[in-house]
Symmetry: C2
Subunit: 483 residues, 2 copies
Amino acid sequence: MASPDPLASVPQNIPSAASLTRVEEVMQDIRQRIQMRHLCVGKKLPSIRVQADSLGVSRSTVVEAYARLVAEGVIESRPGSGFYVGRQVSPFKVAETAAGLSPASDPVWVTRQALLAPATSLQPGCGWLPDSWMPEQEIRRALRAVSRKPLAPLTGYGTPQGSPALRQLLAHRLGERGMHVAPEQLMLTESSTQAVDLLCRFFLQPGDTVLVDDPCYFSFQAMLRAHRANVVSVPYTPHGPDVQAMAACLAQHRPRVYITNAALHNPTGASLSVEIAHQVLVLAAQHDLTIIEDDVFADFENHRAPRYAALDGLRRVVYVGSFSKTLSASVRVGHIATRPDWVEQLVDLKLAIAFESGHFSAELLHTLLGSGTYQRHMNSLRARLADAMGLTLQRLEKLGVHAWHQPSAGMFVWCALPEGLDAATLSEYALHHHQLLLAPGNSFSPSQQANGYLRFNVAQSLSPAVFNALAKSMQACRRGRAT
Amino acid sequence: MASPDPLASVPQNIPSAASLTRVEEVMQDIRQRIQMRHLCVGKKLPSIRVQADSLGVSRSTVVEAYARLVAEGVIESRPGSGFYVGRQVSPFKVAETAAGLSPASDPVWVTRQALLAPATSLQPGCGWLPDSWMPEQEIRRALRAVSRKPLAPLTGYGTPQGSPALRQLLAHRLGERGMHVAPEQLMLTESSTQAVDLLCRFFLQPGDTVLVDDPCYFSFQAMLRAHRANVVSVPYTPHGPDVQAMAACLAQHRPRVYITNAALHNPTGASLSVEIAHQVLVLAAQHDLTIIEDDVFADFENHRAPRYAALDGLRRVVYVGSFSKTLSASVRVGHIATRPDWVEQLVDLKLAIAFESGHFSAELLHTLLGSGTYQRHMNSLRARLADAMGLTLQRLEKLGVHAWHQPSAGMFVWCALPEGLDAATLSEYALHHHQLLLAPGNSFSPSQQANGYLRFNVAQSLSPAVFNALAKSMQACRRGRAT
């Protein structure tokens, strides 16, 4: 079905020609001509007769197509004069509807709801830990320490590549995980999100194809839409991507980049096996594929899963990390580790589009990581998460909600709803009637095949009220289906 | 002349066909096919005979074009086999040479040099105030205050649009300058640079044309290159852009967006007159042009120049500001003021590509702005800058360096070198021999017509050593020219 978005002709939204009706084909043709600026704002469209002749379709097809485009606001009808291209605000929209009305049409629905939710709401669908799990005293202490430091980090710009002291410390940490990088191979960014976005700008041109996991972190999809990339996906298994499906996908679509979470995959909580990691790297070499490995959940691991970046020696793998999930989401520092020759160009790009990442945040992070308290904080966090995981799985089981795979650590578990329940409908109902924020499966699924799934954040699922509200919502949706 | 950059086929670098030789045409054709991925890495190029026949040129033309592309690293010659597409790292490069070797080829040369310069270097070309001019004690005090605040701003994410309290305060400040905006019309960003970049992503598609001033802030050019935009420019006069030139440019090139500093223009220090502001807005309406007004120097003004945003009521003007020049460059918070219907979509885009701007930085900025000390700080800063401006102009005059226009306030003055001196050569010499960072005119000039100019930052020009080093460099360059 054609999307109601006048701007839906970005590649990933174009249904294959075979599945389009004649009317939709005409609509798509006009949308594309508008988007390519062959038809400008205010320009008159060809008359229905001329359009029908030129496209070789019937006049009634054009009449219907024009009427639907008018309804969508793409074109305007001026009675007695004809049809004109409407005023388009932007060639780019992330969401197809206004302000996240529905999880089915908005890749940032979960994020927006979570960020806007009142403190009293229940948020098992949220993507981060509760504030109270963060190391409050350590952060306050670090802030006071930074307030006594020399002036530069408080007022001035940092170096383009980012604090040498912090890069030194990060390089050492990466070395401990088998990634042997020099501090010169690291560049600091505002966040891991900005890091992935920067890499997309570096590697991609509009229309390039990008491979992601199915399911994957929804922000990858929103971001790739902003890059006008063509998104293809392969199923994620409990041990990494489906290698056979990936081989076929690479051969068919020749994606330029693969973006993934390698350890404690979001949303499934699964971890990559060394066998699959190796196979994927062989495929990547065969198809000249660059891999962006987003490792923001690394420090939650109890046992170390392999990393593409470690096996590959950072030749075709670019590694991204941050501490927003374990220390503070508001102290914005991410990092990229990559080949020396790419770092230099990435620094140029960063200067051009962001000028600098936060000197102050880098100083604060360096203070926090250098104090030795981070390790203690993470030890306690991991233990707390393991308890929460056990409890959450138990409570979900009672409701007939089963883990697709039991994660070895981390905050996320990917769960199958009982037969017949629709995650999008359930999520809308739960938010509206119980202030319960769920993360519906299709938010994460490029193929939209995950409407029987929800992602749970076990740290946000400790209150029994979560499961009361979930049970009531499931019941109501079952009844709704029955009537 | 064809650029030595294999990726130079981004629009702004394509010479018009008329000015190309046959060889360059063939080279450009191949570069474009590589960039469009019609020719992939490792792919064999057509033989010289086939290529000549298919393009309708002589074989010697193709031989020469292939040889030059080999020299550029775009293609590789494999003796006995033929020519192959070389390994391309990225479709995007800001600078044409590695790591800012020359101000002539690198739009971020000045920035990079300034960020990397040792503390002992002299930096009249730098784009910001010395650290010691920033309100050190106030920032330290604000940090301690924030360290005692509730936990959320220290560890958690903020709302997608950014701190409501800070937006309220900013809206009030904008109101005082004649821009009547509700807090809901504001969105916070990491910085003004990120704000302009976000707006470019919102309004532009690759290949769209963007209008800038000549000269203009060099980062606009680097950023627009990252957006693959086609850049056109009109001369800047002491009272704003040249309106007649703008009218002609709009008619000819139909740019979608105009990006400018409205008050205390960078690099000229000139201010917009109300007459020109009005004329530009009339032209913008006629040509459906959106204006991005970057107002980071606003608080340096002694007398308020008009703002496009105020005259226009934020209909087609989007306003951008930050405090990085007046408070702290390391506390990263910028803001966008725009139409309510655009804010919502910008928030979507921000969620997709940056997730969030710094909650902590916003809290710190709110503390600093709310304390009342900011006004006192700015009063003293303005007085100090006025003194520095007078002194700098005096010292420059002695060297035969004349202000193009005497700025009413701010830190920048745009100066003409004595006849015959080349700003790029002088800047390279001064940096190399005297650790003196100058800002050569052509860094700012899209038309590359400003090689007789330098931008001086008066706050960074207080040391007599600046003028000693400048005098020596000028002398050496004069001698160099003479020999």
